[in-house]
C-alpha cells in the first residue's frame, strides 16, 4: 500500500484546532488535578486516621477503575441525578479527578520523603501542623515530586484522547472526523499520533527546564 498525505492536507487546520482543544483540556485538567491531588495527598498523611482512610479509599477507587468509566459516570451517569454537564466541563472534571488520584499518591510519597527532622524542628519552633505543612514540608516535597508530576502531565495529555468518547472535538475526535471524510485512516492517525508526540515532547522539555531551574535556586 501507499501512503498519501495529500488527501488529508486540506484538513490539517482542523486537526490543529482539535490539538488546541486537547491542549486546553489537558492544561485545565493538570491544574485542577494537581490542586486536588495536593489536597488528597496531604489528607493522605494527616495525623487523623479516619481522614487518612478516606483519602486512601479515594485514591484506591480512582486508580483502580478505568478513566473511561469515570468519564461515562460523570457525563452519562450524573444526569440521572439531575446534573447535566456540558461535555467539555464533564471531561475536565473527569480528567482532573482521575489525575488527582495519581498526583495524590505522588504527593504522599513526596511528603513522606521529607526527613522527620524537618517536622521536629518545625514543632519545637512552634509551628502548627498546617503551618509546618505549608511553609516547611510542601515546598520541599514539591521539589521531590516534580519529575513524577511531569510524567503524570504527559500521561494526561495522552489520556485526554478518551474525551473523544464524549464527542468533545479534541484531537482524536477530529481525527475520526477527518478519517470518515477522507477514508485515509492510516495517514490521518499517523498525523494525529505525530501531533500528540509533539505535544508530549514539548511538555517534557518544558518540565525538564523548570526542574533544572528549580534545582539551581
Amino acid at each position: 500500500m501507499e501512503l498519501d498525505f495529500t488527501a488529508i492536507a486540506p484538513y490539517l487546520h482542523m486537526l490543529l484546532t482539535g490539538a488546541k482543544i486537547t491542549v486546553q483540556a489537558s492544561v485545565l485538567s493538570v491544574l485542577f488535578g494537581a490542586f486536588l491531588g495536593i489536597i488528597v495527598g496531604a489528607l493522605r498523611v494527616v495525623p487523623i486516621a479516619p481522614v487518612r482512610s478516606i483519602a486512601a479509599g479515594y485514591i484506591y477507587i480512582i486508580r483502580g477503575t478505568p478513566l473511561l468509566i469515570q468519564l461515562f459516570l460523570i457525563y452519562f451517569g450524573l444526569p440521572s441525578l439531575g446534573l447535566n454537564l456540558p461535555a467539555f466541563i464533564a471531561g475536565i472534571i473527569g480528567l482532573s479527578i482521575n489525575s488527582s488520584g495519581y498526583v495524590g499518591e505522588i504527593v504522599r510519597g513526596g511528603i513522606e520523603a521529607v526527613p522527620k527532622g524537618q517536622w521536629e524542628a518545625s514543632k519545637v519552633l512552634g509551628l502548627s501542623y498546617l503551618k509546618t505543612m505549608r511553609f516547611i514540608i510542601l515546598p520541599q516535597a514539591i521539589r521531590n515530586m516534580l519529575p513524577a508530576i511531569g510524567n503524570e502531565f504527559v500521561t494526561l495529555i495522552k489520556e485526554s484522547s478518551l474525551l473523544s468518547t464524549l464527542a468533545i472535538t479534541e484531537l482524536t475526535m477530529v481525527g475520526q472526523q477527518v478519517r470518515s471524510v477522507t477514508y485515509a485512516s492510516f495517514e490521518t492517525f499517523i498525523v494525529v499520533g505525530i501531533i500528540y508526540l509533539v505535544l508530549t515532547s514539548v511538555t517534557s522539555l518544558f518540565l525538564r527546564f523548570i526542574e533544572r531551574k528549580w534545582n539551581v535556586s
Binding site: 526527613p115 524542628a121 519545637v124 519552633l125 512552634g126 511553609f135 520541599q140
Partner: protein, 278 residues
C-alpha cells in the same frame, strides 16, 4: 561575641524558681523501657549537662521535655506550667523551650535569614523588619552575619549548628535544650559550636546540654547528671562527678572515658568555676 551579663553576675540575682520540673517520668517505645521514674529539677539560670552511654535515655529525656515525645506517665512542668499534655499548643511550648538537634535540621529550602525569621513572623507575629533585625543581631552573635543569604547546603556543619542555635534563640525561649549538638560534626568544627554555647552559658540562659564533650561539660556546667539504662544514676557538681564519683556505674563509665581524655578530665578544674553552684 556579644553577651548580656545578667543572671550570673551574682547569686542573688539568680531566681530560684524552677525552670524545669520532671516528676516520675516513664517513657517506653513499645516494649523497650527508655526512661524509668525520672525526677529532675532545673533552676532558672542553671546549666545542667547530661552524660552517659548511648541508649541511656538522655535524648529521650530532652525530647520529652520539649514535647517531641509523648510521655507514658509522670509530670513535666516548665516554669510551673504542666506541659506534658495537649493543653499547650506548639507555639506555647516554643516560647518556653528551644531545642538544638544533633543533625541541625535547618530548613534547606530557605536562606539562613529566612530560617531565623519564619517562626518569629508566623508565631510571634513580628513584622518582617523586626524579625530580620533580631535575626541579624543573632547571626552576629554566632559570628555568621555574612551568611544571611546563604542556603544551609552552602554551610559547614559547624556553621549549620550555629545557625540552628541562632534560629532557636530567635523565638526567645527561656530554656535551651541541646541534644548532642556537636556529635555530628567533624572534630575541627566542634570548637566553634562549643564557643557559641559557652557564650550562652555566660548570658545566664537556663540550659540542659546532652553531650559527650566531657571537658566542656566539666567547664560550663553547674551540675552534671550521669544517666544509664533510663535512670539518673548520679548527679552533682561537675568536679565531684568527674573526680570522685560515688556510684560504681559512674566510675566505670568515667574510667573508660579516661582512656580517651587522659588525666585532664578527672583532675581539678582549669577555668574559674561558675558562681552559681548546683
Amino acid at each position: 561575641m556579644e553577651i548580656s551579663v545578667e543572671g550570673n553576675t551574682s547569686d542573688s540575682s539568680v531566681s530560684h524558681q524552677s525552670a524545669i520540673d520532671v516528676k516520675g517520668l516513664y517513657k517506653s517505645f513499645g516494649r523497650l523501657s527508655v526512661l524509668e521514674d525520672i525526677s529532675l529539677s532545673v533552676k532558672e539560670g542553671e546549666v545542667v549537662s547530661v552524660i552517659g552511654p548511648s541508649g541511656s535515655g538522655k535524648s529521650t529525656l530532652a525530647r520529652c521535655i520539649c514535647r517531641l515525645e509523648r510521655i507514658d506517665s509522670g509530670e513535666i512542668y516548665l516554669y510551673g506550667q504542666r506541659t506534658d499534655g495537649q493543653k499547650h499548643s506548639n507555639s506555647d511550648i516554643a516560647r518556653l523551650v528551644g531545642m538544638i538537634f544533633q543533625q541541625f535540621n535547618l530548613f534547606p529550602h530557605l536562606s539562613v535569614l529566612d530560617n531565623l525569621t519564619l517562626s518569629p513572623m508566623r508565631i510571634l507575629g513580628l513584622s518582617r523588619e523586626e524579625a530580620q533585625e533580631n535575626a541579624m543581631a543573632l547571626l552576629k552573635r554566632v559570628g555568621l552575619e555574612e551568611k544571611q543569604n546563604a542556603r544551609p547546603n552552602q554551610l559547614s556543619g559547624g556553621q549549620c549548628q550555629r545557625v540552628a542555635i541562632a534560629r532557636a534563640l530567635a523565638m526567645s525561649p527561656k530554656i535551651m535544650l541541646f541534644d548532642e549538638p556537636t556529635s555530628a560534626l567533624d572534630p575541627e568544627l566542634v570548637g566553634e559550636v562549643l564557643e557559641v554555647i559557652a557564650g550562652l552559658v555566660d548570658s545566664g540562659m537556663t540550659m540542659m546540654i546532652i553531650t559527650h564533650e566531657m571537658m566542656f561539660a566539666k567547664e560550663v556546667s553547674d551540675r552534671v547528671l550521669f544517666m544509664a539504662d533510663g535512670n539518673i544514676v548520679e548527679q552533682g557538681h561537675p568536679k565531684k562527678i568527674f573526680t570522685s564519683p560515688e556510684v560504681p556505674r559512674t566510675q566505670i563509665f568515667l574510667q573508660r572515658l579516661l582512656a580517651h581524655f587522659g588525666k585532664e578530665l578527672t583532675e581539678g578544674e582549669k577555668r574559674g568555676e561558675c558562681s552559681h553552684g548546683a
